[in-house]
Amino acid sequence: MTFDSVLHAMQQTLAGPLANPHMAQFGPEAVLNDDLHIDSVVLINLLVHLETDHGVAIPERDFRKEDFVTVADLIHVLLASPSAAVAIEPEAAPANQDPSEITVHCFVSCLCAAIRRHEGLDFRPFYFGTWDSDFAVTAQQHLAYHSAEMTQDHYIRWVEQLYGIRVSQWHDPALSKSDNLTRFEKLLHTPATDRQLVVMLDMFHLPERDTKYNQDPFPHFVIIEPTADPEVWHMNDPDYRWRGDLPRAAILNAMAQPSVAGGYILDSTRARAPEPQDLVAYFNATFRPDANPLTDALRRIITYHGHPERPLALPELEIALRELPVLSLRKYAYEHAFAFFWRALGLSFAAFDAHCDQVEALCEGFRRLHFQAAKLAHTRDRDQLPELIAALDALDRLEFTIKTALHAQFQTWCRTTQVAASISPNRSHETRAILKGEPA
């Protein structure tokens, strides 16, 4: 289902069975209430026709008619894809056709896949702070999205506190690689109702999967499920929105690589919606109003490699930044946060769209910077350095602008949910302590 096919179905329905007399006004920007005189009765009938006559699967979410103003808003709610920006600029961002399904962070995406199994649970706020999530800079001043020291503890702790989803390790570092694989296979064939198994594997060793980044190694988290055929396993790669069956042997081989180790059990039998005050705590715990760690690291790396006293380092800059595309994609997490507040606060679509444009500009800026840095490494033309730093400064400013706007929405949301929070029964001592700034 695309935006245009739903638009067409809507037009057919309103002009046909619903005999709407105001079709002269119809278009994506038409205001449902004022232009087309669609109230909740007409709206409900429109939804029925869209699903039964046109195969538009209506989501089972609790939207209210205040959640959309225009025809386009409604289509985005139905498609659960809030940003229209991509459709308008076809040459921009071919990597992200559907922004509700953006690639951000593979482990977070696996957890979100568990959240999204439960209709009605909104995964978006779980992306709070992912725009600034951990990465590493190696001793050689190379940017790295993964390192052996990095843990997923932060997300494991929060997904449980926010959504009641328990994450435990099936991977035991004390065991040998082969023992761990045996242990995994046994677990995979143990029946369980609301459980998913996350594994870390090296995508470079899965030639069946074509990724854009051709990295070696390429550690990556995916969800593995059994199929009826013991020699074929099902891979759910939520971060790349890829699902498919692969030979058991190929998956085990990718898991067996020395570059990777780790895996988790996601237990969502007690999944629930987050309490507003927990979301407040989560936002505050992850929000960095006065620093953009990625830009800061890039500035250090570029300055290091571009230093005149290290002439041999300059060509290395290309390798030093080769993992930047994986990291800059995390900035799309801002879109999830804006989408959350946009819906929660009933803000105008135009304002939300404008924020998405800024996020897109930020991601595009990192892509351009990556290209410029590669060019510099290749030409070794040190005169391009100031331009590169200026581009970084501009990205820094843009990201602070985005953060300021997001923080303002967060504060408004805090104010408006105060009433709801005060009648909510499940205020835990732990979150209250966090709210007061005490150690939990």
Partner: protein, 434 residues
């Protein structure tokens, strides 16, 4: 305790806030117009516990219109989501000391002429209804109510929320418009009974996957059109119908609906009068115990429902027709006078008449004929946005040089409605070019 959509809410947690906002003297009549359904219901329950007067108003009614209604209903305070009480002007002739009665639920209802009137019912009177309703409606005693209709209206509020709380259930209130969401919640709640409008019920029956059925549903407010009834009946395990009026609340319940006009057996605390099978008559009701509800033009103890019907041999009430001009738009009552009054307030509108139009989706809609030298149909439609709630807005607007008034100046909504419904609209000949 109740659940709003997905969120469990404890209304008592709001008490300190309400106490702070409203103070200790609650001997007043409050109009509530709240967008936040949870806040509105929690406030209503708080005021009810403190024996205050409450007039819940659907948030779709524009604020100014709501304030006028509230003033007419004798409210002295107007409350919106910010919980800052706004004083309302006193009605003409009302002295400062003669405060409007507290301790009541206020509703607007149709009189037999179709003009909206103010109905007040004491909370004690409502408790009596709740008790008898809960005892009488045994088939639903163990079912969890899922209420997908406004709790500002008595159907959602009294049989829905108050009966559920009386029975110790945690009702699930849904204010989302998405019918797929309603279906999802019905799957998630064990042994649910759905309170909703006939239009929503029909929609759900259409959307229901082939291998599913609705566990239980209550319909009310209007007789189901036969094709709707056939579909809903086929897809619902337990189908109930109830019938009532604002003055006394629920009058009768049918605990196994097999024919759309069979509104069921009267509740034991009521006396009912109606015609005989060959001669349907006015349906009238009075309480066998306690005093009747009062209206601003209180007559005898018998309350006229404005409906025609008869009592069948088994004692069940059968509905035959509505006696007044009230327009039921997808379960919400629209009084033609309200629409006419609102439109006639506009400069440039000289005359107007609102009437009932059949509508395939909403059951009925408002039609409006008007006379104006300056306003086109489009302009009037635009101006209605600030005057009327969605369900009150005319689906059909026709500008005419003059309204088809009879010799005595009266106008027959029924004649007009029939002409528009049957397509023999002779007034169409004299339309004014816009």
């Amino acid at each position: 305790m109740f659940v709003l959509n997905d969120t469990p809410l404890d209304p008592t947690a709001l008490h300190p806030r309400l106490q702070q906002a409203l103070g200790d003297d609650l001997h007043h009549r409050y109009a509530l117009r709240m967008r936040d359904t949870g806040l509105g219901l929690a406030t209503l329950l708080y005021l009810k516990d403190h024996k205050a007067g409450v007039f819940p108003i659907h948030a779709d009614i524009p604020a100014e219109a709501a304030k006028q209604m509230a003033t007419k209903a004798g409210c002295d305070w107007f409350l919106e989501d910010n919980l800052v009480p706004q004083p309302l002007p006193r009605q003409p002739g009302q002295t400062a000391s003669a405060r409007p009665g507290a301790g009541v639920l206020v509703q607007m209802s149709s009189g037999t002429t179709g003009a909206a009137k103010v109905i007040t019912r004491s909370w004690d009177n409502i408790s009596t209804e709740v008790r008898h309703y809960a005892d009488f409606f045994a088939s639903a005693a163990k079912m969890t109510p899922v209420i997908a209709c406004p709790v500002t209206h008595s159907y959602g509020l009294i049989p829905g929320v108050l009966v559920a709380l009386h029975r110790g259930h945690v009702p699930v209130i849904i204010d989302a418009v998405n019918p797929k969401y309603v279906l999802r919640r019905l799957r998630e709640v064990s042994n649910p009974v759905l309170y909703t409008s006939p239009a929503m019920l029909h929609t759900l029956a259409k959307l229901l996957p082939r291998d599913e059925e609705l566990n239980a549903a209550v319909t009310s407010g209007t007789v189901l059109p036969d094709p709707w009834f056939q579909l809903i009946r086929a897809r619902t395990r337990h189908l109930f119908q109830q019938y009532g009026c604002s003055e006394v609340g629920c009058i009768a319940i049918n605990q196994d609906l097999q024919a759309p006009c069979d509104v069921g057996h009267p509740l034991p605390h009521l006396d009912l009068q109606a015609g005989a099978p060959d001669t349907p008559g006015q349906v009238r009701v009075q309480l066998t115990t306690g005093g009747p509800a009062t209206t601003d033009a209180a007559g005898g103890n018998w309350v006229e429902t404005g409906d025609l019907g008869y009592l069948a041999a088994d004692g069940g009430l059968v509905f035959t027709a509505r006696a007044d001009d009230m327009i039921n738009v997808a379960g919400l009552n629209v009084y033609p006078q309200d629409v006419e009054r609102a439109v006639m307030c506009l400069p440039g509108v000289e005359d107007a008449v609102a009437f009932r139009l059949p509508d395939p989706q909403a059951g009925a809609r408002v039609g409006l004929l008007f006379v104006s030298a300056t306003l086109s149909e489009t302009q009037l439609r635009a101006q209605c946005a600030d005057l009327l709630a969605d369900h009150q807005k005319p689906a059909l607007l026709r500008r005419l040089p003059a309204l088809p008034r009879q010799a005595n100046g009266k106008i027959s909504r029924r004649d007009i409605a029939e002409r528009y419904a049957s397509g023999t609209d002779h007034t169409a000949d004299q339309q004014v070019p816009a």
